[in-house]
């Protein structure tokens, strides 16, 4: 496949970086020079070849390192993966969805052989081979959701749909933008988004919920969200905030290009066939400012977006105190020329 899985870290010495190819395919989330919350849903259909939209579940050069990081987070805090008792079937649905997609789209790396309910799964990058009986939990080393999400990049939440709402009743959450699965599990769609400023008043969540409850099996959807993270830290959890919070006071004009990262969430939504639950993968992509600055269009646009962002949003996203340093750094790449519409760097 021509892709080498990198040996890199997301903590401690932070050796993570993006190769030039990974930079070019980065999912830059701003289609225009300003940003405000919107539902911004689109069909999750195959996108440009080579882009993160090409496959159902993108596997990139960070795959093996990210799975190693997930295992470390779970060893430190098992509460990052939880599933309420009625969500086991949805976990099987998710396992089937991911295994089928990966085996179909990345046949060199993943294989799935099915003989009735006797399944045989091979994950070559992680050197895993597993024979199990579909829908029989005793034949896997852990629950089905945990099993497959230990092998799939991105956080996952499984939403039960009942009483005209979505209930976050299961999840694997180790690369989150500062929210706690342990606290939020069991909440409905409005409750777990409750702390988000401005969006409730704009009816964003009412419209998003209406859209999501109507997502049909076989017709997935996607949208972007984003924030900023100092150092390539995947686990920006509230649980560990006392450990990573101090880094926010260490940003300087000299290190901002190297240490500040745009953190993009590619959120996708899949209706699951047996449980009727909604699978909600939240895939995190990180890119340091100096990597992003290699793409002139993105650097110009990011400068304008950050400069003009309401302080309330910058505060919620956790970078208000560092916004001046970030804007000053990005300004050097913005000569004021127009940017073309859309997020592709090459357009």
């Amino acid at each position: 496949m021509g892709l080498t899985f990198k040996d890199e870290t997301f903590r401690g010495d932070f050796t993570f970086f993006n190769s030039p190819a990974a930079i070019r395919r980065f999912p830059f989330p701003f289609p225009e020079d300003s940003y405000m919350y919107s539902v911004n849903m689109e069909p999750h259909v195959p996108g440009r070849p080579g882009s993160v939209f090409e496959k159902t579940f993108d596997v990139d050069e960070h795959y093996v390192a990210e799975m190693r990081e997930r295992a470390r987070v779970l060893a430190e805090d098992p509460l990052r993966c939880q599933s309420l008792p009625h969500m086991t079937l949805a976990g099987w649905d998710l396992l089937e969805l991911i295994m089928q997609a990966k085996a179909r789209e990345y046949p060199d790396w993943f294989s799935l052989h099915r003989d009735g309910d006797r399944w045989h799964w091979i994950n070559r990058p992680l050197e895993i081979e597993q024979r199990f009986t579909f829908l029989d939990e005793t034949t896997l080393p852990c629950g089905p959701m945990e099993y497959i999400t230990r092998q799939t990049q991105g956080d996952f939440s499984l939403q039960d749909q009942r009483n005209d709402n979505l209930w976050m009743d299961a999840g694997m959450v180790t690369t989150q933008a500062d929210w706690s699965l342990d606290f939020d599990i069991g909440m409905n769609f409005f409750e777990w988004h409750a702390p988000v400023p401005l969006a409730h008043e704009k009816q964003i969540f009412t419209r998003a919920l209406k859209f999501l409850m109507n997502v049909q099996h076989g017709v997935p959807a996607r949208r972007f969200n984003w924030t900023m993270t100092i150092d390539p830290l995947l686990d920006t959890s509230p649980e560990n905030y006392p450990k990573w919070g101090p880094s926010r006071a260490t940003l300087t004009p000299e290190n901002v290009g190297r240490r500040m990262h745009l953190r993009v969430e590619l959120q996708t939504f899949f209706r699951l066939p047996r449980s009727n639950a909604l699978a909600f993968p939240i895939r995190c992509y990180l890119i340091r400012f100096e990597e992003l600055a290699t793409q002139p269009k993105w650097a110009r646009r990011l400068h304008r977006v950050i400069r003009d962002l309401p302080d309330e949003l910058a505060a919620y996203k956790g970078f208000l105190r560092n916004k001046p340093i970030m804007v000053d750094y990005l300004a050097q790449f913005d000569d004021g020329t127009p940017t073309s519409p859309g997020w592709w760097a090459e357009d």
Partner: protein, 228 residues
């Protein structure tokens, strides 16, 4: 844009308007508008049913007295009240004992009341009406028990009265500190200085506490008494 209310008290509250601000403990507490995960409470109103289960603490006694006073003559005969002193020490056992309910149990604490509550909820039949009144900690923990017992959420009404001290979970160490009166406060388990969010988990029956000086260790603003 409050989310659908899992316990339905918002619906029932509308049926009996007239909640007023007043001295703490005298009437329903009125909270300022907040985020959708923050619980809201109504006003207890008698509803027909074969059995009435009331759980209250402290000044929630006033809501129970009003409830029984508004009920029909037969309500007392079908009622079971579990009452405990409030987090601030308020204890109106004598007034409640004088109501003459079919069953009245005074417990020294919620933990002590729990085995009895679980038994009663497990034994409950269809149509039981459940009334919760008093502090947020009591209402939230009792609601959780009702939920786990699998009883229909529309059987439950809640009314907040009296102290507004909070039950708060430290998001870092997961320890729960009861009766938090100030913001920030010191986690009773790990000792971190926490600010109190309005974000609330029904499953944990607690508000969320987050380290206030994580980014600038040692810079803790003086505690302000926000909940009393």
């Amino acid at each position: 844009m409050a989310g659908p209310d899992a316990f339905g008290e918002g619906i029932w509250a509308k049926k009996k308007p007239g909640a007023q601000t007043g001295a703490a403990g005298m009437t329903k507490t009125v909270f300022p508008p907040s985020i959708p995960s923050r619980p809201t409470y109504g006003v207890l109103a008698p509803r027909p049913g074969p059995a009435h289960l009331m759980i209250a603490d402290g000044d929630g006694a006033g809501a129970v007295l009003d409830l029984v006073g508004a009920g029909d003559a037969g309500m007392a005969a079908g009622s079971h009240l579990i009452y405990l002193p409030g987090p601030d020490g308020t204890d109106r056992t004598a007034e409640l004992a004088a109501l003459g309910l079919a069953r009245f149990h005074r417990a020294p604490s919620f933990a002590a009341a729990l085995p009895r509550l679980r038994k009663v909820l497990g034994d409950a039949h269809m149509g039981v009406q459940i009334y919760l009144a008093g502090s947020e900690g009591l209402i939230g923990q009792a609601q959780r028990e009702v939920m786990e017992a699998g009883l229909p959420h529309d059987a439950v009404q809640t009314e907040h009265r009296g102290t507004t001290v909070r039950r708060v979970q430290c998001v870092h160490c997961k320890g729960i500190t009861e009766n938090v009166a100030t913001d920030p406060f010191t986690c009773g388990h790990c000792g971190l200085a926490l600010f109190v969010r309005d974000h609330y988990s029904r499953r944990i029956a607690a508000f969320q506490g987050v380290n206030i000086d994580a980014e600038d260790p040692g810079l803790v603003p003086p505690p302000v008494e926000k909940f009393r």
